[in-house]
């Protein structure tokens, strides 16, 4: 009984430490279990890199979208790379494809 009481005291103190250590405004980032912390960090990093790469590609794609149509010569992205563009064309019917082609051939001014 005495031991249980002692243990409870120690535990309360420890939890109090945890509680107050946490509440200084910083969010808890620690996972306590090392394997999970490592998995978390790695997955987060991979996600970030994946996302940034994708975003850069995406922005490039959007930037090229108009120049792709306007001037056929300066196309950093090949048509095959542009999966979404192809899908877009596929989604439209044959009649719409003609419209897109018209748009593509239109020259500025």
């Amino acid at each position: 009984m005495m031991f249980a009481k002692d243990m409870a005291k120690v535990m309360i103190v420890m939890f109090a430490i945890c509680f107050f250590a946490k509440s200084d405004g910083k969010p808890i980032e620690r996972r306590s279990v090392s394997e999970i912390e490592l998995m978390h960090s790695l997955a987060k990093y991979v996600n970030t890199v994946e996302r940034v790469e994708w975003l850069l590609k995406k922005l490039e794609e959007v930037r090229n979208f108009i120049s792709d149509k306007n001037g056929g010569s300066e196309r950093p992205l090949k048509r095959e790379d542009n999966g979404l563009f192809e899908k877009y064309q596929k989604n439209l019917g044959e009649a719409d494809k003609a419209d897109v082609d018209v748009l593509t051939k239109t020259k500025p001014q």
Partner: protein
């Protein structure tokens, strides 16, 4: 007994308070899969609108030189007359990534749409440079090195543990409560190592975006991984509780103790992991459940783990205290240096069995994370190996075994000691002292046979 309530309800209340206090989410960026899905939805919606517009347009007059509605892989531009400037909001997927809103414009000229202005990344506050900086890259490399190190550690542990487990299983003489608990601990170590390999294979092997393909399987692996890790902590606690019970409690049933240990070791992790699975499913169903960004959900796993580490550490200290007391009574006869040697030896022996080293970083600040990861992964992955060696292979250490034979030939041993006298090496003196000093009737000595079979 005093009439006051035991401290447990209060403790429970405190735990609940703690959980409530921890209920805040650290903002996590969405996975690429989710972003792509939003983008796809937007695209479908846009294309549908455009085709509807077009079919309507076909029946009426076609605008001669206007700009047709356009999906530019990012935003949906409605059709416009020449000279018009069209404004659209930043696409939802960019908003997901940046959390900032903005607008983009295109002019409709006679020659068609102009380029977007301002540039989409500037307009929507996309900053791609800050997230992929050098420190992150270095950290990533460090983590990958750690992954190699713990893979080596876990595989060597796995081999040793399998051998140790088969030895303990195959010799009938070694079957006793203490060794049953050791066997369960070994199995939990094996599972922990295996689940690490499986997790790594599922998470990090395949490149590319795996969105819907094996999400359920991936989550299942993650649940299994969490369960194995928790089970390992639970069995370390069971070892601690068992040894402490042997030393500190006079009368107890071995069979019931083993049943309790099994319930604690395999049952309690199942409860917590099930709870985690449910909360995760409803509160943070993101990706493959490999990123734990929501602190309150993570406390379901983290809380019990920290609690088990803490309780085990307290048990560890208490056992050492009991051991020291017993050894001190022997001091008059024995050599003092010898006495401290024995104490140190038994301490070192008990650390891997109890997982007492986990306490070092249990409450460490976040800055020490890299040291903690090295200590607990690169070195900690050998814990299974050390436990297997100490509590199976080295158990029959010659000198101790001789002593053991001397002691146990006189009494009928519960669990003969060919290989299985786990706590014998350093702590055998404890039994000796309990036996040799009738002047101090200790509680451990007052117990039935187990006290000498354990120590």
């Amino acid at each position: 007994m005093h009439p006051r309530l035991p401290p447990w309800p209060r403790l429970l209340l405190l735990l609940l308070l703690l959980l409530a206090g921890a209920a805040h989410t650290t903002g996590a960026l969405p996975r690429l899969c989710d972003v792509l899905q939003v983008l796809r939805e937007e695209q479908d919606q846009c294309l549908q609108e455009l085709s509807e517009e077009r079919t309507r347009g076909l029946s009426t007059v076609q605008p001669a030189s206007g700009c047709e509605g356009l999906w530019d892989n990012m935003s949906c531009w409605p059709s416009a007359e020449p000279g018009q400037t069209v404004e659209v909001e930043c696409p939802r997927f960019l908003w997901m990534l940046t959390g900032r809103n903005g607008s983009m414009f295109r002019n409709c000229t006679r020659g068609g749409w102009s380029a977007v202005f301002p540039r989409p990344d500037l307009a929507c506050g996309v900053n791609v440079n800050d997230s992929a900086n050098d420190t992150n890259e270095k950290r990533h490399e460090y983590l990958l090195k750690l992954k190699v190190m713990y893979t080596v550690g876990y595989s060597s542990s796995l081999v040793m543990l399998l051998v140790a487990l088969s030895i303990l299983c195959s010799f009938r003489r070694l079957h006793c409560t203490r060794n049953y608990i050791h066997m369960h601990l070994f199995v939990s170590f094996i599972l922990r190592a295996l689940s690490n390999f499986i997790k790594d294979a599922v998470l990090f092997s395949d490149d590319g975006v795996h969105c819907e393909t094996h999400r359920a399987g991936c989550k299942l692996v993650m649940v299994f991984f969490q369960y194995c890790i928790m089970a390992n902590y639970a069995w370390l606690l069971a070892e601690g509780l068992y040894l402490h019970t042997l030393l500190a409690v006079s009368f107890f049933s071995e069979r019931k103790c083993l049943q309790g240990c099994v319930a604690l070791g395999w049952g309690s992790p199942a409860i917590f992991v099930a709870l985690w699975t449910i909360t995760r499913h409803f509160l943070e169903d993101v990706g493959c459940w490999d990123i734990n960004a929501n602190a309150s959900v993570w406390w379901v796993i983290r809380g019990p783990v920290i609690l088990s580490i803490l309780i085990n550490f307290i048990l560890f200290i208490n056992i050492l205290r009991i051991l020291m007391r017993k050894l001190r009574t022997q001091e008059t006869r024995g050599n003092e240096v010898n006495h401290y040697k024995r104490l140190a030896k038994s301490t070192l022996l008990l650390i891997p069995l109890f997982g007492a080293h986990y306490i070092i970083f249990a409450f460490s600040p976040e800055d020490a994370m890299e040291i903690q990861l090295f200590f607990e992964l690169a070195l900690g992955s050998y814990q299974g190996l050390v436990v297997a060696v100490l509590y199976c292979f080295l158990n029959g250490e010659l000198e101790v075994q001789k002593k053991w034979r001397q002691w146990h030939l006189r009494e009928a041993p519960l669990c003969p000691v060919a290989l299985g006298n786990s706590f014998s090496i350093g702590t055998s003196s404890l039994t000796q002292s309990t036996k040799a000093s009738p002047s101090e009737p200790s509680r451990a000595g007052a117990g039935p046979a187990p006290s000498e079979s354990v120590i």
